[in-house]
Subunit: 209 residues, 2 copies
Amino acid sequence: MAGHVSDAVIRRLPGYYRHLRELEAAGVTQISSQELGDRMHLTPSQIRQDINCFGGFGRQGYGYRVSELKGHIGEILGLTNEHVCIIVGAGHIGCAVARYPSFSREGFRTIAMFDVDPEKIGGTTDGIPIHAMDDLEAFLGENHVDIAVLALPRRFAQDALHRLYDSGVRAVWNFAPTDLAHPDDMLVVNVHLMDSLQQLSYRMAHRDD
Amino acid sequence: MAGHVSDAVIRRLPGYYRHLRELEAAGVTQISSQELGDRMHLTPSQIRQDINCFGGFGRQGYGYRVSELKGHIGEILGLTNEHVCIIVGAGHIGCAVARYPSFSREGFRTIAMFDVDPEKIGGTTDGIPIHAMDDLEAFLGENHVDIAVLALPRRFAQDALHRLYDSGVRAVWNFAPTDLAHPDDMLVVNVHLMDSLQQLSYRMAHRDD
DNA sequence: TAGATTGTTAATCGATTAACAATC
DNA sequence: TAGATTGTTAATCGATTAACAATC
């Protein structure tokens, strides 16, 4: 069904999902590409092209059923299967992720956190146990983990990524502010908060251009 | 100097800055578009095109001076002027931002946080005072603020944005998981953590396509 | 049925890549 | 000078938009 799906489309998919969820919550059951485009600041054409990368989920003369389309896009995004996660680094960012409500609501289940701080080891955050960083390999030997959240200072991130790879983890959500080297069969998606803030700074500096 | 700069270029600029900072820290003083491209997974052509949106910062037969180019890009990103910030919402994300080292290092100075929780009001995070949300307008009347960081639950974010606008704030770094309506003369850059995670989920689900 | 809106093909636009003269 | 690498123009590629027949 899906031939090659471009990066541009993949980047927009979560936005569709988010808007459709809001529409569903607001009691909207039907929507046209025109209306959805107005809402998302996209052209109706683009919306139809994007959706038709995956199949014809609409009906001529009617538009799209909100809950049906949301279901399809959720499936396409892989949100129907649960993802078992660990968080490496129990600092402020790691804990913020652990407690982020949408994180568990969308099927990302955190089973453990890891840190080097003896003060934290043995404790919990939101019911999630904090293990010693030294126990990472042993833990991964006994537990299947889909995604590792990397929430460490920059200088520790590359080493942690190698250790995760060697223990079989093949997907990383990286908050460390650096581009990590990784094998081809490991997926790494970066958050790079400072990049986002610097884009804001750029736009402020060039407001009148 | 800069004609129209495309979104694609703006999105890459912080990456240049980050890599150049790492190179500088590693003691590298000179780099060619070829070498920088290898490092950043971009073509040399694209790097030269990107940089030349802003001016000819290189030298034929030599390449670019790392510290000089970093300086230019920092300036282009608006990092030479300090940005006065407030953080609206003193939950885990707000506090994570407040303590994020690069935040203050790159000239983003947080002068206050705001929250509705009586337990938090009057306290501090990392030396930053937490004010009552009710005092937002009074505070903004007395203090110039360049950027508001929105770190509130979704349902409170739109109202907070209006209040910020009415008190003169014209730039928002938004962590609430929703696309906020805003006037044309207000800049809003979204972080949308869940979008980023869902992109990872998509790529995991479609690994073998 | 008539009206509306999709799915899909064709046209356009913009971004990326290639090429090469300029020049350090 | 010769070699290397930029700055910049031209070519290519891909993404977005427009158009319209299909059809609910």
